[in-house]
Symmetry: C2
Subunit: 209 residues, 2 copies
DNA sequence: CGCTGTAGGCGTGCGGTGTACGCTTACGAC
DNA sequence: GTCGTAAGCGTACACCGCACGCCTACAGCG
């Protein structure tokens, strides 16, 4: 009976995401989001109990569009597609990567995605503890790659520094870093995933044979 | 000729680490470290130009003790040992995990470690781009596993929530989460690494054959 | 011994953060 | 038209990193 809400949770998330995309994750603050929405800072707390919860809404918004239906193909193709879709969704907003780490376990979208991955793994013959470890390994690769790519891409400054390291002390590192500068992020991620899947396939074969 | 320094960089790092271990990473502040050292907040800036640099010192201290000499054995055994040593060093101070992510590329200890890993990979026959991708995959697994373990261990609350999910909507997730609660973190990490190494081995064989 | 210059240590203050609390005000139902 | 509820906001507090300037302990020198 009192006045109706003028904003939805998704409006909040969109405003926060706009701040992040424009000014970076460090610029995300309750005040900044309030300005973005044209309202007072404390008004946000009518919709959200916490900065924490607002961050969760942002993550949810980023991940909400991910299609969790496995495409036709082998189980490795299906896993690859599902993992690549998450990566693609996150890469559109690189600055939210740290948030996806923190709020990983509260995202409904990610729960649905995990269920889909588990479905593929189960269909491939992974059961019990093997399935737990397979999921965890895939998740580890996804998280690790996103993190590495975000705060130290192969083409970035860190690699440049390594490439210029004294060759007598770090011969391999210097050479490898020079090589690394020419590896595009997509290939890095994809090949790493392929290695992991090859390993999982041998484990599966061990189990069956 | 003026009065001598009364603190070393390592003293600062030790004090900061004490704060982190006692009160958590969120409690790390220049003021808290100063209190820990029994001095004024601004005195810290005689030793350190920045909070950023102080964090770097903490990471360096945590990683400094890691032995980078590969043990005898196969190349996979050597890689496993080196990776496990970093994991062991970081696990002593779980709260610094996020810092190790951020300051990864500025740590001298980690550079030496990377050089050692590359030495093992080179000895095993990895060259050029293959070596880049192998290193990156290993680093991805290390980072991802540390991150996952830190903010969502299999035995933690998140897994418990998943285990209690509605079975009609998330049948596999609920079942897998129940199974996951009994997987110790060490096994999770070790098996994931084993899978990755199995994959790398097949890639190496492909290259040779 | 006393002087002197360097650099260690510290106090204050500024602009930022998240958010607790209480007020005003718009609105739907009677 | 009146009333109750909840939306929206202003103020205030405790915390943060850090710029700036002051005071002072000390090593080297005459």
């Amino acid at each position: 009976m009192p006045r109706p809400r003028s904003l939805s949770h998704d409006d909040l998330a969109a405003a926060a995401l706009a701040v992040i995309d424009r000014d970076g994750l460090a610029a995300l603050s309750m005040r900044a989001v309030a300005v973005e929405l044209g309202m007072g800072t404390m008004s946000l707390y009518r919709y959200v109990s916490d900065r924490e919860q607002l961050e969760g809404l942002v993550v949810e918004r980023v991940l909400a569009g991910v299609d969790v239906s496995p495409p036709p193909g082998s189980w490795t193709d299906q896993v690859t597609a599902l993992v690549e879709r998450v990566r693609a969704a996150v890469r559109v907003h690189p600055e939210v990567v740290p948030l996806t780490m923190t709020h990983r376990h509260t995202s409904a979208a990610l729960l649905r995605w995990t269920e889909a991955i588990l479905g593929v793994l189960a269909g491939a013959g992974f059961t019990g503890r093997r399935r737990v470890l397979a999921l965890r390994a895939l998740l580890g690769h996804l998280v690790g790659s996103l993190q590495l790519e975000h705060l130290g891409p192969l083409s970035g400054a860190g690699t440049g520094i390594m490439a210029g390291l004294p060759r007598e002390e770090f011969p391999l590192l210097a050479e490898t870093a020079r090589e690394a500068r020419e590896v595009p992020p997509g290939e890095e991620f994809g090949q790493g995933l392929a290695v992991l899947l090859a390993g999982l396939r041998t484990f599966l074969a061990m189990d069956e044979g």
